[in-house]
């Protein structure tokens, strides 16, 4: 029961013949070879698979691909523009907000979604928004600092 579905990923249009109920995660990773988006749990509990759909965070492991047909999807691979890192990517490197890095793409996409919706989040707002993302290495404090730092960078860039 494959269908032709149009996916807009990182500014590129793809026409794919896929089963419409297949997870967005699987399509991104297997059909488009965008492996930066990770599998962590398959039940939307860890956030490793987070992508942006129209700027908002979505768990791609529990999202059937047909639901996002035609909508603008951003994955970790689309975050940097022309080799220039997103301020949050820069902040992650500056703060050292990772250890093994496996949760990092999902953390970044969730963090960017937060900053899209709330350019100046308080610490409590960051914690509430990011609570669906797991980092087993325990770098939460650093990720909070990186988000705060990116918010500051983006504020300065807007001036």
């Amino acid at each position: 029961m494959r269908e032709v579905i149009e996916l807009h990923v990182n500014g590129v249009r793809h026409r794919l013949e896929v089963e419409p109920n297949r997870s967005l995660l699987s399509v991104l990773r297997e059909e488009l070879d965008l492996t930066g988006t990770k599998y962590g749990c398959g039940e939307g509990q860890c956030g490793a698979c987070t992508v942006l759909v129209a700027g908002r965070a979505m768990r791609s492991c529990t999202t059937p691909v047909h639901l996002v047909a035609g909508r603008s999807i951003t994955t970790i691979e689309g975050l940097a523009r022309d080799g220039r890192l997103h301020p949050l990517q820069e902040a992650f490197l500056e703060v050292g907000a990772l250890q093994c890095g496996y949760c990092t793409p999902g953390m970044l996409m969730s963090g960017v979604a937060l900053l899209n919706a709330n350019p100046d989040p308080s610490e409590a707002e960051i914690i509430r928004f990011m609570n669906g993302n797991i980092c087993r290495c325990g770098t939460y404090g650093r990720i909070v600092r990186a988000i705060q730092r990116a918010a500051q960078k983006m504020k300065e860039a807007r001036r």
Partner: protein
């Protein structure tokens, strides 16, 4: 429970999962250190493959041989065992360093690059580490036990320093100048008098040198460090924040299939019959059946999952114990050895005499639950057979061990098997084994095509191995002035790591009792040091209260070890111990200890919500000392991470099981620490540049659980003696303990 039922599991639990424990028991002075460099064909080929340049080899010293477990089992490694490390400078100036260690997030790719950059006087960017590739890197027993920093960093320092000296020799010869007038800076050899300079790449151009280096080489003293001891950022950090880095689970080979393995419905279940016809009828699906192994390979993960679901299997189950009765089970099933770790006993003085002179006596039992590592990247492997040779990419902490597992399983020589470990999505001691590698290789062999196997979260929670559960019994006596006169300590099952007390007590009986384990168990960050510190440091708190002393004062009274005193005092000072204002439902607690060359003290402040029973850790101060610090920021990151990970095991993590089934094999049922659990964390680093550097990925985890438990007692008067402390909030726990 029938005894013979457990035989299979105790056999299972001793194997590779526990190699770390096995490795630490390798006797002193074992094996060879011939100092001879056998030029095997393989190594000649290896040198040819490297191309022109300078290759420097380091001969193993006795300690290194022990480290790699040399001689434990006959193996045929493709590279000579006597070589401990090597480094190559290509004629374009790039430096490649080869090490069998693997990167799993502890940032040793960075720290090891730092030591090479420091000693070789070459910028970090020019240095590349080849890690965990059994064809290219020296044999290494595994990345565990916090051994990378004390052993591998020390090796690579010597290799780099020797290479620097070799380069100076070369330049002096080429320029016909006195060697002492030359120096290397930022990868360039300079002669100050003539202003001559040459990049080291140019210097080695046209050379084809291979040198084995002596053990004695001049190392840069800590006062002169410019790269070691500084907070260099993660070397390949950009690849991680852009998603470019390919973990094992991200790899693809041409023609690759996706594998899935049929799992039994419970531990101990045996396959009676299986009907695979429906699965086999699916297009592109291969079903493999070998004994109890049933697996499928298919063109996509979805196809593989569907094929697996179409397999009908009948299993014969046998009764298994449950988590409710686990502690009684452990106490009732002592064995002589768990395979890797035998019964051990440490006795000084006389417990009965110590108790006799005591003015207060104390006896308590503590327990710890099985917990899961839950690395965010589950087990994964990609396997490819070509001309009878097997290559497997997999995330493991023991690439050479997994190579042996594969060679044994498929009856091929070890030099026909290559294991490559891409930088991996964490391990925490949980990835010593090669399950996914074996499964992928088996399916790939049958399919005649490469196969990838990635475990689901549920598989990882069920079929990996766990941190051992344990029962710890403490008996002690103390004088009213706070002097401990007797200390008896028995650990059942969880392990002997850090089982000895650091306190100066004249009469001690400390014993590890191996038992059978109904669940497969193995290494976990800091091994049993967490369980033993939890019991010991909780008991110390109880003893302090028994004689009405401040817990810090009580510890210091019984503590002679200066390094441990230093971290305890540093943590207490930063925390403001004794100066915190009493507030209702708030409490403070502390704990201290040492293990694997690291000294740690942790103070915690907690708050209890009486209405909900929720315990919130508000503030943690950890002071840590591990000799000379190589990278302060990455060390801080490890300590913070250990505290956060330790919070889970302290407060709520526990594997629940019943009759052979894991009841909570998902993140929705197995709670791990999240952002909202994060306390304010303050790290105090004591940098002892006068001491050798010890590893730091593990020991900082040991203090958090007892510090929190002691703080809960301080806040509420409820003494909790089981990890996790409050899986269901404090109300339930308090009731439970009142009922005792």
């Amino acid at each position: 429970m029938r005894d013979d039922l457990w035989h299979d599991f105790s056999t299972l639990s001793m194997e590779p999962a526990a190699y770390e424990l096995f490795a630490t028991s390798v006797p002193e002075g074992a094996s060879d250190s011939t100092g001879k460099l056998p030029l095997s064909l393989t190594r000649r080929q290896f040198c040819q493959a490297l191309g022109a340049g300078v290759l420097v080899l380091l001969l193993r010293d006795v300690r290194a041989v022990q480290e790699s477990g040399g001689g434990r089992r006959a193996e045929a490694p493709s590279m000579p065992r006597e070589i401990g490390a090597w480094l190559h400078i290509a004629d374009d100036g790039r430096v490649t360093v080869y090490t069998g260690k693997v990167e799993v997030g502890q940032n040793i790719r960075t720290s090891l690059t730092q030591v090479v950059a420091e000693e070789l006087r070459v910028p970090m960017e020019r240095i590349h580490l080849v890690m965990g590739d059994t064809d290219l890197t020296p044999f290494d027993m595994g990345t565990f036990g916090s051994r990378t920093t004390p052993v591998m960093a020390a090796h690579l320092r010597r290799v780099a320093a020797a290479t620097r000296e070799l380069l100076l020799d070369l330049a002096a010869e080429q320029w016909q100048v006195a060697r002492a007038t030359l120096q290397i800076e930022a990868g360039v050899v300079r002669h100050a008098a003539t202003g001559r300079s040459l990049d080291i790449g140019r210097l080695v151009r046209g050379q084809r040198l291979t040198r084995a280096i002596p053990q004695e080489v001049p190392l840069t003293p800590p006062q002169q460090w410019r790269i070691m001891g500084t907070s260099v950022p993660k070397v390949n950090g950009r690849a991680f924040v852009t998603g470019e880095h390919r973990y094992t689970s991200d790899l693809k080979l041409p023609g690759m299939l996706y594998g899935k393995v049929l799992r039994p419905p419970a531990f101990g279940a045996r396959l009676v019959s299986v009907d695979t016809r429906d699965a086999e009828a699916m297009p592109g699906v291969l079903v493999v059946r070998e004994g109890d192994f049933v697996g499928v390979a298919a063109p996509s993960p979805e196809h593989a999952a569907r094929a697996l679901a179409a397999i009908r299997a009948e299993w014969k189950r046998t009764p298994q114990p449950s988590s409710r009765e686990i502690f009684a089970y452990l106490k009732a099933h002592e064995v002589e050895a768990q395979g890797w770790e035998g019964r051990s006993r440490y006795v000084v003085g006389s417990i009965s005499e110590g108790l006799q002179i005591a003015e207060r006596r104390f006896e308590q039992t503590y327990t710890v639950a099985y917990i899961a590592h839950a690395p965010l990247e589950p087990r994964a492997a990609v396997a490819e057979w070509k001309d009878g040779r097997l290559t497997v990419w997999t995330g493991t902490q023991r690439p050479f061990g997994v190579r042996s597992e594969l060679a044994r399983a498929f009856g091929v020589p070890e030099d026909h098997v290559r294991v490559i470990v891409p930088d991996t999505g964490s391990g925490y001691g949980g990835k010593h084994t090669g399950e996914a590698a074996l499964e992928a290789a088996r399916l790939a062999k049958a399919a005649g095509r490469p196969v990838k196997v990635v475990w689901t979260r549920e598989e990882e929670f069920t079929w990996a191995y766990f941190r051992p559960a344990g029962v710890i019994e403490v008996r002690s006596g103390v004088k009213t002035d706070g002097t401990i006169t007797a200390w008896e300590f028995h650990n059942y099952n969880s392990g002997a790591a850090a089982i000895r007390t650091p306190y100066a007590i004249p009469n001690q009986w400390i014993e590890f009792h191996p038992t059978r384990s109904p669940l497969r168990q193995g290494s976990y960050r800091a091994l049993a040091a967490t369980a033993n510190h939890f019991a010991r440091e909780t008991a110390m708190d109880e003893l302090a209260h028994l004689v009405g002393m401040d817990p810090l004062e009580f510890r210091l009274k019984n503590l002679k070890d200066e390094r441990l005193r230093a971290v305890l005092e540093a943590a207490a000072h930063r925390f403001g111990w004794g100066r915190t204002k009493a507030a209702p439902d708030r409490g403070v607690g502390l704990a201290a200890g040492f293990e694997k060359g690291g000294y740690v003290a942790t103070c915690a402040e907690i708050a209890v919500d009486r209405a909900t029973g929720e315990v919130k850790v508000l503030r943690v101060v950890t002071a840590f000392e591990c000799g000379a610090i190589l990278n302060p920021d990455h060390l801080t990151n490890q300590i913070e991470g250990a505290i956060v990970m330790g919070l889970g095991g302290a407060l709520f993590e526990a594997i629940e099981f019943e009759n052979g089934k894991i009841l909570n094999p998902r993140f929705s049922r197995y709670r791990v620490p999240r952002f909202s659990d994060l306390p304010q964390i303050d790290i105090v680093l004591l940098d002892r540049r006068d001491l050798p550097s010890a590893g730091a990925g593990e020991t900082p985890i040991v203090g958090i659980a007892p510090a929190i438990g002691n703080a809960i007692f301080h806040a509420t008067g409820v003494r909790l003696r089981s990890l996790p402390l409050v899986p269901n909030g404090l109300k339930g726990e308090a009731r439970l303990h009142r009922g005792e």
